[in-house]
């Protein structure tokens, strides 16, 4: 059967064949034929954003919470350049996205045409791969290839730039099964000999630790399940990066909490003092390692990662295992069981005693107040009042993000959307909308700061239009809190440009957008305000006026090793025996 059709129809057909149910986008001259096709069908819903950056972050929220690739449709020129921040964000956090951009007709390419930009040139370093399709014959196959590249191996964003005449021209449609994707098939199975060696090390290790990251979540729910089984069976402590929260449950008995710059004291000291570090889908980011030369000096390091360029990039690893986390964990578990489920349990027990002593420092301690809402308290109350629900959390970037990571508990993967690698202020609001679109009945909360939230606040319009009842939980300190903290601690208390002057009235802003808002400043009213936010049937902005000068601790100042953490004044001084640090 001949399936000749226009390029524009082909795009919609290919998306449908790829199982796409939602596209986040914004129309413009160079994508009008595609929008015309979208108009004439009902299988794919289109979420009209207010700014293309919002579309990409929504697609990230959608992808991160479902495990499926997010799809974005933008026009040429400014449409594509506005999408650049989101694609860079997705690249650093390994989020699968397929971005379709319109382009001026092929005969105008290179002439500085209206709304022309060198989109493939601009997006080359911020995508995993990109294509300019000059011929309708190749369009369908390219889209199918793009989905394969975005989701195989280490996931990431891809972009397809489609000139307008290619959308109008007709050609034969090819389905996903007719397209050869064999030229891009990253290796998934790990080397069995290396995995066996790792199991041997696990059997002997006296002070082991699992250090896990976003790769576990990207590998799928099966990988999280295997990780839980392995950690619980071995009894080894486990810590995670910001991106990996939820892979192992925060309520699990071996959980140390997040590590890194604002990670838990016990997690960072355990990393520093371990003798076997098992890195699983984590890439030794500088926010994790602190000063590299002093990073975990006495340990043998094993690293499981699907991307060989992540191995031995920052930290030298004695035992590299290239492969998909899920496959490698499965083999690890199988081999460890078949060898008799051995661990050096006596030594590991001592190791836990040491960790418990570190834990007694109570590194998250803070002084609560009756008169002003402490941000940590606000998050503790949010946790208490929402933990029993089907809950998804997004965040913006800054102090509130770190407090959210410290005080909220994630027991399942895909429930935590945050901009880790790029640290994109303005990520959270659109991401929360994307999550809500994918999970219409879930409770979706964006934990935000006042400054970050303003960066993409126009997307409240999208939330209202599509009845996405996202909850905006703004910890408002009228400051760029993290910048202010660094200026206080590291720049002689010179608070250069780090306060939010002329903030809008968030309650009136909510009303202006057609949703509801409430401001709360009295700690006694906090619970009531949170309950109202949760129970309100629609988008809600809760403006929580918090202590303006609270600092986020613990903190490893940039360039310091793990054992030189700054603790809050409220934390207990470390008093437990001979430290390994």
């Amino acid at each position: 059967m001949s399936r000749k059709m226009t390029g524009a129809r082909m795009i919609v057909e290919a998306l449908r064949d790829q199982g796409v149910d939602t596209v986040f986008g914004y129309p413009g001259g160079a994508v009008l034929p595609i929008y015309d096709e979208l108009f004439q069908q009902n299988d794919i819903q289109h979420i009209l954003v207010r700014h293309e950056q919002g579309a990409v972050h929504m697609a990230e929220g959608y992808a991160r919470s479902t495990g499926k690739p997010g799809v974005v449709l933008v026009t040429s020129g400014p449409g594509a350049t506005n999408a650049v921040t989101g694609m860079t964000d997705a690249l650093l956090d390994s989020i699968p996205l397929v971005v379709l951009s319109g382009q001026v007709p092929t005969f105008l390419v290179g002439t500085d045409g209206f709304q022309e930009a060198d989109t493939v040139g601009i997006t080359r370093p911020c995508t995993k791969h990109n294509w300019l399709v000059k011929d309708t014959e190749k369009l369908a196959a390219t889209i199918h290839q793009a989905f394969n590249v975005a989701t195989s191996g280490r996931p990431g964003p891809v972009l397809i730039d489609i000139p307008k005449d290619v959308q109008f021209a007709e050609a034969e449609y090819v389905g996903p099964k007719q397209v050869d994707t064999s030229n891009y098939q990253p290796r998934r199975k790990g080397d069995i000999e290396s995995i066996t060696r790792l199991v041997e090390l696990m059997e002997q290790a006296e002070r082991p630790i699992f250090y896990t990251g976003g790769g576990v979540i990207n590998s799928g729910p099966g990988a999280s399940q295997l990780l839980r089984e392995l950690v619980d069976a071995t009894g080894f402590p486990i810590t995670s990066t910001l991106m990996g929260l939820g892979a192992y449950p925060a309520s699990g008995k071996n959980w140390l909490g997040m590590l890194g710059m604002h990670g838990m004291y016990e997690a960072n000291l355990a990393m520093h003092g371990c003798d076997l570090m098992i890195a699983v889908g984590a890439r030794f980011d500088d926010r994790i390692t602190g000063r590299v030369a002093d990073f975990s000096p006495g340990s043998v390091k094993a690293q499981i990662d699907i991307d060989p360029s992540s191995i031995n990039k920052i930290v030298h690893v004695e035992l590299p295992i290239q492969g998909d986390v899920g496959h490698v964990l499965e083999d690890m578990l199988k081999i460890w069981k078949s060898r008799g489920r051995k661990t050096n349990s006596e030594a590991v027990r001592k190791w836990w005693t040491q960790i418990e002593q570190w834990r007694e420092v109570k590194c998250l301690a803070y002084t609560n107040s009756d008169s002003v809402i402490k941000p940590q308290h606000a998050l503790e109350r949010l946790e208490a009042l929402t933990k029993d629900r089907d809950r998804y959390i997004a965040t913006e970037v800054g102090q509130h993000q770190m407090w959210a990571a410290q005080f909220l508990q994630f027991d399942e993967p895909n429930r935590w959307m945050t901009s880790g690698g790029l640290g994109t202020m303005g990520y959270g609001l659109p991401a929360s909308v994307g999550v809500q679109v994918a999970h219409p009945d879930a409770l979706v909360i964006n934990v935000a700061g006042d400054a970050s939230w303003l960066m993409n606040m126009q997307e409240m319009g999208t939330a209202v239009q599509f009845r996405a009842p996202v909850k905006q939980f703004i910890l408002n300190n009228e400051r760029l809190g993290m910048v202010r903290q660094w200026q206080q601690l590291l720049h002689g208390e010179r608070y250069s440009q780090s306060w939010s002057d002329s903030l809008p009235d968030f309650v009136k802003l909510a009303e202006a957008f057609g949703c509801k808002g409430r401001q709360v400043s009295d700690p006694a009213e906090l619970d009531d305000a949170i309950r109202e936010m949760i129970e309100y049937d629609g988008p809600f902005i809760l403006d929580v006026l918090v202590e303006k000068h609270e600092n986020c601790f613990p903190m490893i100042p940039s360039g310091k090793p793990h054992n030189e953490m700054l603790l809050s004044p409220e934390a207990e001084a470390f008093s437990g025996g001979a430290a390994l640090v």
Partner: protein
């Protein structure tokens, strides 16, 4: 507890685990086999500029028309860990099919083509011709006051030739960069 683990502990290891702390820069010649499609060279060069790696020389041409393959030969410089990282990063580029390190993968040969214009008269001209003969360079253009020499060889040989020609009136040179192949079958 002693965890005896040797560097490069598995025979199947895909990684070069020589001393990563060595800070000595090494020169490596990499052969990168790529899909011959638009933008592939920009991806490779963009990787080097974006991540701060060095390129000493770079040559590229289609080598398999039927299979749409091109071969990019890159001479780069870096500490051992940087070289490992360069290879891994190159391998990540979707249209890159193979990355070979001709410096570590076994013996290889390198050749470069250079064109050198020498301007002069009298004794300098005679001396230039004599040296060209020693280097087996060909004269491919001649006027009463100039020669253009064509010379093939290792980059070092071309460097030596240029050094000798400089006092004799070397005015311009064009070099292709290194092309390299592994020796043997």
């Amino acid at each position: 507890m002693v965890l005896n683990i040797k560097q490069g502990s598995t025979s199947h290891s895909a990684y070069d685990l020589r001393d990563p702390n060595a800070q000595i820069e090494e020169r490596h010649t990499l052969a990168v086999l790529v899909e011959n499609e638009p933008g592939v060279l920009a991806r490779v060069i963009g990787l080097f500029s974006g991540r701060g790696y060095n390129i000493d020389s770079l040559t590229v041409a289609e080598t398999d028309h039927e299979g749409h393959r091109s071969r990019i030969t890159i001479v780069t410089r870096g500490t051992p860990s940087v070289i490992v990282q360069i290879k891994a990063q190159l391998g990540r580029i979707v249209p890159v099919h193979e990355v070979h390190d001709l410096t570590t993968d076994g013996p290889s040969i390198e050749r470069e083509l250079g064109l050198f214009k020498v301007v002069g008269t009298g004794d300098h001209r005679v001396e230039a011709l004599r040296i060209a003969e020693i280097f087996r360079a060909n004269v491919i253009d001649s006027t009463l006051t100039s020669f253009v020499f064509e010379i093939n060889g290792s980059p070092e040989k071309l460097d030596a030739f240029a050094d000798l020609m400089r006092p004799l009136g070397l005015s311009d040179q064009a070099r292709t960069g290194v092309a390299a192949l592994a020796r043997g079958a």
